[in-house]
Amino acid sequence: MSAQAVMATTVTRPQLDAGAAPWRRVPLVTVGIVLLVGIALPWVLVRLDIGTYLMTLLILFFVQAVVAQSWNLIMGYGGIYSFAQVALFAVGGWTSGVLVHSLGWNPFFAILFAPLVAVVAALGIGLPTLRLRGVYVVLLTIAFHELARVFAVTGPRFISGGGYGLVTVQTFQFGNAVGDQRTIYLYYLAGLIFAVATFTIWRVIHSPLGVAMIALRDSETYAVSRGINQFRVRIVVFAISAFFTGLAGGYSTHYNGGISTTIFDFPRIIDLLAMIVIGGWGTFGGPILGAGLVIGLDQYLVALGDYQTLLLGLALAGIAVFAPQGVWPFIRGLYDRYLAPEPPPPPIEVNPAAAHETTEEL
């Protein structure tokens, strides 16, 4: 036996770890069925009495889920405690709104600028903030949120609209479509944004960038010592998150025909946070599930008034402490048991609660 042959037999290619190839666990059939249902759904819904109402709910769900996913990307996966997400949403919304309202652009063209300006704003926040950690990020992003609010209320008239925000911004027009027909088109547009955002975020999470980000969250010292540029990873992820948030903001402005300064109110942040926490903090499907749950339950619980806020607050605190991964692991388990093509490999979603802590002590 020659030396070469020995080499050839001993060097075996390592088995690709299931955690490194997550796409194997989501079969094309599942994705295809979800897509088909999503495309066919409006044509079924228009035949129902409450179809239009359900479609508007779904549009709301798409928009909120995009923002929640983007937030979860930096907060749950990246470990960056940014509270600027609603402000970035507003930046996107205002950009598109002002371009249409003041310059008379076509909404379909103006909305392309919403994510770009949001990214610029995110870089502006990120440059001083993302070298710091934890509590400093919380404070500075809340500061950005407050500054954005003050500017939106007291800024120049073409932005503030005299303190109320932008009203009577031109909405999306699809030829001569009106009524249900128009709602269907709006649904498709929102669905498209949702699908693109979801796919991109999924790819980011499983890309080297995403792995670096999770490594930084779980053990900063170790990740940095393995050559990960912490600041660069964070700012890129922050920008990606801002991109889709801004896009959702632009869509929302032209869907509602305006954007109000009440967007900056604290309950908006709480709603988004609730989606992430209830669905599953730091999991891929958590924010989507959470957005669905929060929007769905909202329709029933709205009659409770302030009791709803009370319950929401207690639920947030309870879930954060006693079930940090939210509802998602349960759903995930069901999927793995009944639908996954292979037997479930060890969980790839790294539980933040299992994070390897950096211990400076000793």
Partner: protein, 293 residues
């Protein structure tokens, strides 16, 4: 001295005392427990509403209501510790869980305040009435009392931390939690005590400030944000830093407000803190802790 100057200076001293009082509680909890307590504003509100309840529903004097409000706030903070903080102490993911839990508690408290009372503004009577005038600026005796109380409490907390057994235990736990527990210091109980003390300080601030700022279910939010800024400006976990930074930021804000208009006060403070974080990331008296949440 011009009226404007005296007005700005007095406003600044008053703000500084208030911010310092709130920041003292935050910084104690941060220093000992490593907990960013975003429910601090809610505890403030609990104390203030408890006092309001005593005064308006039971018609008792404010001097009776004050200790009741302070105790209620301390008790609330302690219960919060037992239910939501203690279960995750020492577990990985402590930062995430407590951050969200304290946000959740703070919205639950403001919702509860709306349900029990109502969302309108409430007035708590001042502890002492009357005022006097210095170059046309009215200085209320309640304001002087707030400044005096704040300074006295800083002194008390400092002495408590330095000379008493319990204070030493708190410092030991904040420096080296594992070593402290090896020296048979009950770590979790110490945490509870620190959080209760911090709650009492917030409650006191709530009762004493509500005559100035009025009371509504969300009135704790702004003082908490200001206190957070003060805490970071002074250096997280530093009692001395909270005192100095409270007055520096309070006077700065007040001068900006008087000379440039109210709209610039908040942005001005934010710019100052961003500048501070660039120049001295650990704050005035902080010790190399920028990387820690």
């Amino acid at each position: 001295m011009s009226t404007q100057f005296v007005q700005a200076l007095w406003g600044g001293i008053l703000f500084g005392a208030v911010y310092g009082l709130m920041a003292l509680g935050l910084t104690l909890v941060w220093g000992a427990v490593r907990l960013l307590n975003l429910a601090h504003g809610a505890i403030f509100v609990v104390g203030a509403y408890a006092a309001y309840f005593i005064v308006s529903r039971l018609n008792l004097p404010i001097l009776v209501a004050l200790p009741f409000g302070v105790l209620a706030a301390a008790a609330f903070a302690y219960v919060m510790h037992v239910v939501f903080i203690r279960p995750v102490i020492g577990k990985p993911g402590f930062d995430n869980s407590t951050l969200i839990a304290t946000v959740g508690i703070s919205i639950a408290v403001s919702a509860a305040a709306i349900l029990i009372f109502d969302p309108t503004y409430k007035v708590i009577p001042p502890l002492i009435n009357g005022n006097f005038t210095v170059s046309d600026v009215q200085i209320t005796k309640q304001g002087l009392l707030v400044v005096g109380t704040s300074l006295a409490l800083f002194g008390l907390v400092y002495l408590f931390l330095t000379y008493t057994r319990l204070g030493m235990a708190i410092r030991a736990v904040s420096q080296q939690q594992e070593a402290a527990s090896l020296m048979s210091i009950p770590v979790e109980r110490t945490y509870g005590i620190v959080i209760a003390i911090s709650g009492a300080l917030a409650g006191l601030a709530g009762v004493m400030l509500s005559p100035f700022f009025f009371l509504n279910p969300n009135s704790g939010f702004n003082p908490m944000i200001q206190a957070l800024i003060v805490t970071i400006f002074g250096g997280l976990g530093s009692v001395r830093g909270a005192l100095v930074a409270g007055f520096v930021l309070g006077i700065f804000e007040s001068f900006v407000e008087v000379y440039y208009g109210v709209a610039w006060a908040q942005p001005g403070v934010f710019f100052l803190i961003i500048l501070m974080l660039i120049l001295r990331p650990n704050g005035l008296f902080g010790i190399g802790e920028v990387r820690r949440l």
